[in-house]
Structures are given as C-alpha cells and as structure tokens.
C-alpha cells in the first residue's frame, strides 16, 4: 500500500469511527487502536499515539457545544482532573515499559467491559440526596437547567470517585483512549451525578487527561505525523458531524450495533494478546 492509499483509507475509517463514537457517546478512540493494528498492521504503539491525539481533538472540538448547554460542572471536573492527570502520567510511563502483548490484553478487557457497560441502563439520579460534607466543602454541588427550571444535585462519595478517576487516567495514558466509560461510571455510580452533567464534564476531562500523557508519548516517539494526521483529521470531522446530528438521531439501535463492534474487536485484541500475535 502506498502512503497516499494508506492515508485515504485510514482517514475514511477514522471518520466513521469518530461519527459513530460521537453519535453513540461511546467514543471513537476505543475502536481505532484495534482497527489500526488488525486491518492496517500498525504497531500498537503508533496506533495508541495516534488515537490519543484524536481523543484531544474530539474533546476540545466538542467543548464549545457542550458549554452552551450549561450542564458541565467545572469544579467537579477540575478536582477529578488531579486524579486523572496523575493517573495518565503513570499510565504513559507504564505503556513504554510493558510488552505489547500485555497492552493488547488490557485493551481487550477494557473494550469488552465498555461493551458490557453500554448495555446497562444508566441509573436515574435520585432527586434529593442529602449533601455530603466533603462534596459541600469542595463546592461540588450544583444545578443544571431542566424542563422544570434549575435542578439541584448533591455529589456523593468523593473519595471513591477520585480513586476510580485515577484508574481512568491510568488506562487513558496506557492505552491512548479517553476512557469515558470509566469516567462516567465513577461520576454516575459512585458520585451520583446526574448523567447530563457527568457526560459533559467527562468530555472536558478527557482532553486534559489525554494532554497529560501526550508529552510523554511525544518524547518516546509514539506520535507519528504520517499516521496521526489522517486519524486526527478523520476523527475530528466525524465527531463534529456527529455532534450536529446527535439531537435528532435515534441512537438506541446504533448504540447496540456499535457496542457489538466494540465487543468483537475487544475479543480479537484479547486473542492477539494471548497468542502473542501483536
């Protein structure tokens, strides 16, 4: 394959991944690395570097539309960023040290888990939880515009949310993904944040977390311009288009299909990891 053909096909695949990732809310990065490694025989380290770059593009590109909705809670985001950025540093250092077959196995496990998680209905945030002393002290409780006006919420279990976020950051740094699934889990399940708030806050955090490992990836030579270019441009275009049509589209069945794709790719990564074919 010549560089021109390679660039065109990778850009097209990245565009579709970005579009589906943004329509389903499952993120495009998680399918990119397995696609690049299996379809295009790209070394997993180059694939992870390119994916990480595209994660930053998606997060920062979507920020403007998320901010207008007024759901994201910048204090929750910034406090948890302490955990995710330290996690991301650890993950990025580990990525340069552990064998690629181990990377593939962890990647496969995360994908299978994400596919499973996307099938579970997200918990309806209870309306009136008592204020948690620590969350109150950290000024995390907030409100967001609802059909009935402003809705207030009280954040719970800050320490467990913080620890989960460290893990999410480590996975992000290790695998070059946004690990939105783990971030949303920490905020939905542990901290009981309404999902409109957790989804938009997670988007903000994903970019900052990815930037924390990007420097390490760059200095280790994981970010190849020839590969990152079509991936970044494709994913960015796809996700921007996706966020435009998101409001009208019926995403339930699409989510189901995409979760299936993630599951299959995850199992394939596990297979390749265990049999050392990566």
């Amino acid at each position: 394959m010549t560089i021109l053909e390679f660039t065109a096909i990778v850009a097209a695949v990245s565009f579709v991944a970005g579009l589906l990732g943004s329509l389903t809310g499952l993120g495009g990065g998680v399918v990119l690395v397995p696609l690049l490694t299996t379809l295009f025989h790209v070394d997993i380290r180059y694939a992870i570097g390119a994916s990480l770059v595209s994660v930053i593009a998606t997060s920062s590109g979507a920020a403007a539309s998320y901010v207008k909705e007024g759901f994201s809670n910048i204090r929750i985001g910034m406090f948890l960023e302490i955990a995710t950025t330290f996690g991301a540093l650890l993950g990025a250092f580990l990525a340069t040290r552990i064998p690629t077959s181990a990377l593939a196995i962890i990647f496969g496990l995360v994908m299978v888990y994400s596919a499973f998680l996307s099938r579970k209905p997200r918990p309806r945030a209870e309306r009136s939880l008592p204020p948690d002393p620590l969350a109150t002290r950290l000024r995390m409780n907030g409100s967001f515009p609802d059909a009935e006006g402003l809705r207030f919420y009280n954040v719970q279990n800050v320490p467990s949310g913080f620890s989960l976020m460290f893990g999410a950051g480590a996975l992000s740094g290790l695998l070059g993904i946004g690990s939105g699934a783990v971030k949303v889990l920490a905020m939905d399940q542990a901290m009981r944040i309404p999902f409109k708030v957790s989804t938009t806050t997670s988007n903000f955090m994903i970019g900052v977390t990815a930037a924390a490992s990007a420097g390490i990836y760059l200095s280790r030579g994981y970010i190849d311009p020839g590969l990152a270019m079509p991936v970044m441009l494709g994913v960015l275009a796809g996700s921007l288009l996706g966020s435009r049509i998101l409001v009208k589209a019926e995403t339930q069945s699409l989510r189901f299909v995409f979760a299936g794709v993630i599951l299959v790719l995850g199992l394939q990564m596990l297979y390749k990891g265990f049999w050392g074919k990566i």
């Binding site: 560089i3 930053i56 920062s60 929750i76 910034m78 311009p225 441009l233």
Partner: protein
C-alpha cells in the same frame, strides 16, 4: 459586575452555582474550537506537503522504530519547520492541539481567581503542573 450578581441571586442559598460567570466558559469553549480548527488547518497544510512528496512510497507501520529526535521534542519540531518538511508541520499542528486543553486549564485558573476561589486556584495549578511536567519535563521539551 451587575451580570454576575443577577445570576448569583437566582441560585440556591446553600448550593452555589458553579462558574457563576458563564461568559468565561462560553468564550473558552469558542477559543478551544478555534484552537482545534487552527491545529487541523496546520495539520492539513503539512499533509499536503507530505503527500505531495511521499504519496507513492510504501506505507509501513508494522515495525516500531520511534520517531527521529527532531519529531520528538518541541524545539526539534520548531527547528525542523524551517526545512519546510511536511511531517514537521503536521507535528506542529499536533503540538497546537495538545496545547488546547492546557490553555483551557490556564484560563480556568483565571476564572477561579476572578471568583476568589483560592482552593480551586490551587487545584487547577496542580493539574497545570502535571501537564507542564509531561510536556516539558519528560524529555519532550528539550
């Protein structure tokens, strides 16, 4: 600051509304989008040069070699731009992209400082320190 006071008085007495001045966030959101589009434009320019010169060479990413040193560091990228290399220009665009979330963190510090929220100024400074360490301290800055 009449606008700020009006928003503040509407919020619940025990639950402060985060980011009272949403204008900062709106400006920031647009700034980020501009940053991303700018970096995409730079990457695209680099892509044109790169493809014009190397379109028909074989693509091979099977073996990990790591990037040459001038594509691994900020100063290396900036120096090699002079030679009008497509790959360096793409890498510059990617550096701009990495800078967008960092810019957001920097502006958040300003936002928290305006709100006189010292605790969150401190939290945000910690996050910024980690980001700068990764970009400048881990070898990419050299």
């Amino acid at each position: 600051m009449p606008a700020t006071q009006a928003t503040a008085s509407k919020s619940h007495p025990f639950q402060p509304q985060p980011w009272r001045d949403r204008r900062i966030e709106l400006i920031l959101g647009n700034l980020l989008r501009t940053g991303v589009l700018l970096s995409a434009a730079v990457v695209l320019c680099g892509a044109c040069i790169y493809l014009a010169r190397h379109a028909h060479e074989p693509a091979n990413y099977r073996v990990f070699r790591g990037e040459p040193s001038d594509l691994r560091t900020i100063s290396g990228v900036l120096h090699s731009i002079i030679h009008e290399r497509g790959r360096s220009l793409i890498q510059l665009g990617l550096l701009l992209l990495i800078a967008t979330p960092i810019a957001r963190v920097v502006f958040s510090i300003v936002g928290f400082a305006i709100e006189r929220d010292r605790m969150y100024v401190a939290f945000t400074l910690i996050v910024l320190a980690v980001l700068l360490y990764s970009l400048l301290g881990s070898g990419a800055g050299g």
